[in-house]
Symmetry: C2
Subunit: 240 residues, 2 copies
């Protein structure tokens, strides 16, 4: 009987853990997927089979391999952040395949950390999808309001990658329609661009002003802070 090891690659090149690396080297076959992120540079000294979105969603190729031999699946961020991987994990478990998860550095904890905001003081995380015809949800706008006085981590669509500028613009447009005072011109907004990379860029400012800042290439993430502890405020001041 085989096994399936999900291994988190973390938030950028170099964020794979020693344990993850060891497992990937030990397994008979190594797969990876990058369809919602950039392609990571990885040098395992061995072949890595890159899967496309369809192969991940169907899951057959992985499950079949894992029912015969030990298989590692390398996933950007934390390997269980996306539902598709949970589905694959459940399918493997149902078939009696031994499954393990080697957690990775996740954007969920990295963004608060980089900003100097307390993880304890975040409410529900939201994400902004690209508006499509007949699909322009506003729930994330209201969730930011409902989280207050807690902070909100706002993740952005990855297909294609949404910039923080576009995200803030969408939030401001909803504000103009809904007028609940959740993202006014004056609302403090923080942007973390390329979290974890050597050219990570962090900037905080009022929504109206910051929305035209050049943050450089994606990925970007947004935080809308709630009530700030004085140390959190001091930290954000360094990025304003």
């Amino acid at each position: 009987m085989g096994e399936l090891v999900f291994i988190g690659l973390g938030i950028d090149d170099g964020y794979i853990t020693l344990k993850g690396l060891e497992e990937a080297k030990r397994c008979d076959r190594v797969f990876a997927e990058f369809y919602t992120s950039k392609v990571f540079n990885l040098d395992l000294g061995r072949e890595i089979e890159i899967l496309d979105r369809k192969e991940i969603e169907e899951g057959n190729r992985i499950i079949e391999a894992a029912s015969r031999e030990s298989v590692a699946l390398l996933v950007p961020g934390d390997p269980m952040a996306a539902t598709t991987h949970l589905q694959m994990r459940l399918e493997a478990m149902k078939r009696g395949i031994k499954v393990r998860v080697i957690c990775g550095v996740s954007i969920f904890s990295a963004v608060p950390s980089l900003l100097g905001l307390e993880n304890y003081k975040f409410g529900k995380t939201v994400s902004i999808p690209w508006p499509r015809e007949n699909f322009s949800p506003k729930s994330y706008y209201y969730a930011i309001g409902a989280n207050y006085p807690l902070h909100t981590l706002v993740l952005l669509d990855t297909e294609p990658p949404m910039s923080a500028n576009e995200g803030i613009r969408i939030l401001r447009d909803i504000e103009k329609e809904e007028k609940k005072g959740i993202i006014t011109e004056e609302t403090l907004v923080c942007v973390v661009a390329r979290a974890g990379s050597d050219d990570c860029f962090i900037k905080c400012g009022k929504a109206e002003g910051i929305k035209s800042t050049d943050f450089g290439p994606t990925p970007h993430a947004i935080v809308v802070p709630g009530e700030l502890h004085f140390m959190e405020e001091e930290s954000l001041n360094f990025f304003s």
Copy 2:
């Protein structure tokens, strides 16, 4: 001028990232602190100076070293999860010391991931402190209720380490006084013991039954799930 690099060690031995390891090897001096966790096994092939709680809270020894040379501080989990490190970071920035943060695998994202629960569906994280004379807060009990239908990650006091059994017992005792139906006998509770380690143990069950389970050595963490997606439910079933 020196520099200060905060490096996350992650949730257990082997969870340091390649980038963290590289930075620690590059720096002139390497410090570590383990006063709220177990001592990590680390083989950097060089001296690591272990700091006690007092030295971390005062921060002088680190700040002085970092104003002259490049200094790495190794911290369990993610390096910015605790306020003491944020304080040190701010102090260093005020003095013009170059500061960087190499994020680590955090219990905040690892526990949801190991359980197969969606990170998006968690509300505010709470923690249970040891009850002391004139200090028996109940806010965490009410926060679990307020988070519903979102899940709640419940972290446990580390000084000394609180077991999940003690945590659940404290929650049940508050329930008996407050009677809000937040942690009844029947409430589903999940326990993750030794997250990330090779003998990680995960168990889900009703509060009254699970509170006498032997989870083995600490660290333990608790999750009180809210409304479950069918895939989340299926995942928790594997651990019941």
